[in-house]
């Protein structure tokens, strides 16, 4: 089966690369189609998956897609419906049956975040979901609507690394704190968070506390803003030596090296959990929708920052709630095969 995976954001490209490799392993021929803006500078195409550079809407109208058995569309929400209509119109004009288009949320979102993500995806030939929780929530969203028959398939946690990338941990105790760009979003909130994490590092001199952005932080510190922990770290003339900033590109490696992991609601917490890392979900903000709190409500790993000390106690953190993790899609091991089977059905 020949497939294309189309992306126009960094997060989507990373997810498509992962999915592409899994689909290749399941026997598909996969080409990534990437928006030109993503290919500037250091983001070289991954050698494992052939990559073409096209604007998504140009690709939608081109004959390129005519020769495929399906295309996964993982583009910005406002581009999703134009892509669908351009693709169908182009296929109609050329008198060819349109190859099935699939799409889906990149992350195992729940609640409001999920329904907002799914709305512009309705109408695609297939929506790829993560697990049974998303299947249930999609059912509520489309119940009784013209999209009630929307085809969907749960294919597991496909958008993030779940297979370990290595097996060694760092020689010295390392706590990786996953920082999100917008959680919390304000400069004052980030300043407060920095101060509290700094106190954590001071109270745990035997540990390295690495503040690890899970978003692309500019390489030049001049470009950092007050809404990043890195900015506050750079400004802190008296910062403890064991408090460090991680580079975004090193995120998977740092996570693998970590002895324990802490975060508010970064999706990378899920990778840490399934890799078996002792993980704590910061509970100090409560269950806030704008902080994606509902996602981790059932994890069983929430704790207050004050309760994380001494950090050695994190090493004895329990495993995540298995029922919750299964609901998110963790137990679906044959996701790529499920996707290929469903696409074959749609193609026929």
């Amino acid at each position: 089966m020949r497939l294309a995976l189309i992306s126009d954001t960094t997060a989507a490209l990373e997810a498509c690369r992962l999915l592409g490799r899994h689909l290749q392993a399941a026997g598909a021929e996969v080409t990534l189609i990437v928006a030109p803006a993503l290919m500037n500078g250091h983001r070289a195409p991954a050698p494992q998956v052939p990559t073409l550079v096209f604007e998504p809407l140009t690709a939608a109208a081109s004959e390129l897609l005519d020769h495929l058995d399906g295309a996964g569309v993982f583009v910005e929400p406002e581009t999703l419906q134009p892509f669908l209509s351009i693709r169908r119109r182009a296929a109609r004009l050329r008198g060819r049956p349109a190859a099935p288009l699939f799409t889906g949320p990149l992350l195992p979102l729940v609640g409001d975040a999920l329904s907002a993500d799914l709305l512009p995806r309705l109408g695609y030939d297939l929506i790829c979901l993560h697990g049974p929780v998303q299947v249930e929530e999609l059912g509520w969203l489309i119940r009784g609507t013209p999209h009630a028959a929307q085809a969907h398939e749960a294919i597991g946690l496909w958008g993030m690394p779940t297979a370990p990338i290595g097996f060694g941990v760092s020689r010295e105790p390392l706590l990786v704190v996953l920082e999100q760009g917008g959680v919390p979003g304000g400069a004052k909130d980030k300043a407060l968070l920095y101060r509290r994490l700094r106190s954590l590092a001071v109270a745990a001199p035997g540990w390295t506390v690495r503040l690890q952005p899970d978003y692309h932080l500019a390489t030049d510190p001049e470009d950092w803003t007050e809404t990043t922990l890195a900015w506050h770290h750079g400004l802190d003339a008296d910062r403890p030596a064991n408090l460090q900033i991680g580079r975004r590109d090193d995120l998977p490696l740092n996570l693998m090296l970590a002895w324990a992991c802490l975060g508010i609601s970064s999706p990378w917490l899920l990778s840490a959990m399934v890799w078996g890392k002792p993980t704590a979900v910061l509970a100090d903000y409560g269950i806030r929708t704008d902080f994606n709190g509902p996602l981790f409500f059932g994890s069983g790993l929430m704790r207050r920052l004050a309760d994380c000390l001494p950090l050695e106690e994190l090493l004895a953190a329990p495993q995540p709630n298995p029922g919750w993790l299964a609901g998110l899609g963790w137990t679906i091991a044959d996701g790529p095969q499920r996707l290929l089977q469903r696409l074959e059905g749609v193609t026929r």
């Binding site: 907002a116 119940r143 409560g286 069983g300």
Partner: protein
């Protein structure tokens, strides 16, 4: 068996929820007392409406907790915003414990359809003896959220979306379309101006109809959401002159719906008031199915219409009524009514008193009272009084996370952190204490 209930509410929406709950009082040996927590800007008409239900108190929460009459009810219904709900539950139970008085069942609910933040709202409500949900849709969401967690046994009851006592059929309804305005839906100025233009154009295309815009609140009144530009101002600025058959009316919504043929809304709970009063509701779909508008909730209703594409209002009024399966799903129907709550409360009354279930489970977090900024500050003051400055600083740190803009929290925290005893004492004397 008769029941005596106290309903506690503050904002106008919450008071209207109490009104909807109490509409069967006369038929079910139910005695309802409402405590409307004083709040600036609550519409007088809403307060007047409460007077018709039964005794009306207007005590602050602090006064209420100290009032011995609080122990005279069979159950207490709390209709406040999230953090206040959790605070009420916590303070009520602590106060009864300290005073050695029995605990009455506490229940809470929602004021109308829940368009967003459902999980967050439930996280504030966990621990109430009963949570009133609208219907099977909310039940499914609650069960999914609590599945596999220690809170899975949380009790709930379906009380439905009925709002008004059903009206007698009106033979001759006027050609009137009432648009139920919402203060922040849509929120953007340019969309609110477009909304007004669409309604005006529709009125011009329908000279045989009267189109009324019913503002959610009068210009001097307040609801939960802050309003910067009242709809009357938007209409004036956008249209200049109004078509002769379009006007703004602040008459009671029930009066307008009682004799009119159509209600239109983007996503207001007034949709269900209209159904109760025999007026056909329509959902304005011109802004699309968008999560921020709450329109996806109504997507299965069968009543979505594009007003700007409609030839006239007659063409909008055509077509089937609301889809019965959808109505059942969202909680509009005879199976779902406050009667279910009353039965559940009767059950609780018949049972021996039970201690409330614990809410602290390692690894799990609810939006408990100690996440309410006020409660945190109050607890910090208590810690300062008993000279536990580390605890005070810990509580104030969390309060500061909730309200980073509040300078007084920062000052108090800095004072509590001072190591030198005399300097700390001085700093605590001069920094503002929390007094609410």
């Amino acid at each position: 068996m008769s029941l005596s209930l106290l309903l506690v509410a503050d904002s106008d929406s919450q008071l209207l929820a109490c009104q909807a709950l109490a509409r069967f009082a006369g038929e079910h040996h139910l005695r309802v007392t409402v405590n409307a927590v004083p709040r600036e800007g609550t519409p007088a008409s809403v307060i007047d409406g409460m007077n018709r239900i039964g005794p009306l108190w207007q005590l602050s929460l602090r006064q209420l907790m100290a009032d011995p009459r609080l122990d005279g009810f069979d159950a207490i219904g709390v209709y406040l915003t999230g953090s206040k709900l959790a605070e009420f539950r916590s303070v009520y139970r602590d106060s009864r414990h300290q005073l050695g008085r029995p605990l009455r069942p506490l229940f809470c609910g929602f004021n109308g359809v829940v368009l967003e933040r459902f999980e967050e709202a439930i996280a504030w409500r966990l621990g109430y003896d009963l949570i009133c949900l609208n219907g099977p849709r909310d039940q499914a969401r609650l069960e999914l959220m609590l599945r596999h967690t220690p809170f899975a046994g949380q009790r709930w009851v379906l009380t439905g979306l009925g709002r008004q006592r059903s009206a007698e059929p009106v033979a001759d309804r006027a050609n009137r379309l009432v648009f139920a305005e919402q203060v922040v839906i849509p929120a953007a100025d340019h969309e609110r101006r477009r909304l007004v233009r669409i309604l005006a154009a529709l009125a011009r295309r329908s000279p045989d109809w009267e189109v009324l815009i019913r503002p959610r609140v009068a210009p001097h009144e307040r609801t939960f959401h802050a309003v910067t530009t009242h709809i009357t101002e938007t209409v004036e600025k956008t249209l200049g002159g109004l078509p002769p058959n379009l006007r703004i009316s602040d008459a009671p919504l029930a009066d307008l719906l009682g004799g009119g043929r159509l209600l239109a809304t983007v996503s207001s709970t007034a949709f269900f008031d209209a159904l109760d009063l025999g007026c056909k509701p329509l959902v304005m779909a011109d802004f699309g199915l968008r999560h921020d508008l709450g329109t996806p909730f109504f997507a299965g209703s069968g009543l979505l219409r594009h007003f700007d594409r409609a030839a006239d209002i007659d063409s909008l009024a055509e077509g089937p009524d609301a889809d019965p399966d959808w109505l059942e799903w969202v909680g509009y129907g005879q199976r779902f009514s406050p009667q279910n709550l009353l039965e559940a409360l009767q059950d609780l009354k018949a049972q021996p008193p039970r201690q409330p279930k614990g809410l602290i489970h390692p690894g799990y977090m609810i939006n408990a009272a100690d996440l309410s900024c006020n409660q945190l500050r109050r607890a910090a003051e208590a810690a300062i009084r008993r000279r536990d400055y580390d605890e005070a600083a810990r509580l104030l740190e969390i309060a500061q996370l909730q309200r980073p803009e509040n300078r007084n929290i920062g000052r108090r925290l800095a004072a509590a952190r001072i190591g030198n005893r005399i300097a700390r004492r001085l700093a605590l004397l001069v920094t503002p204490r929390f007094r609410a």
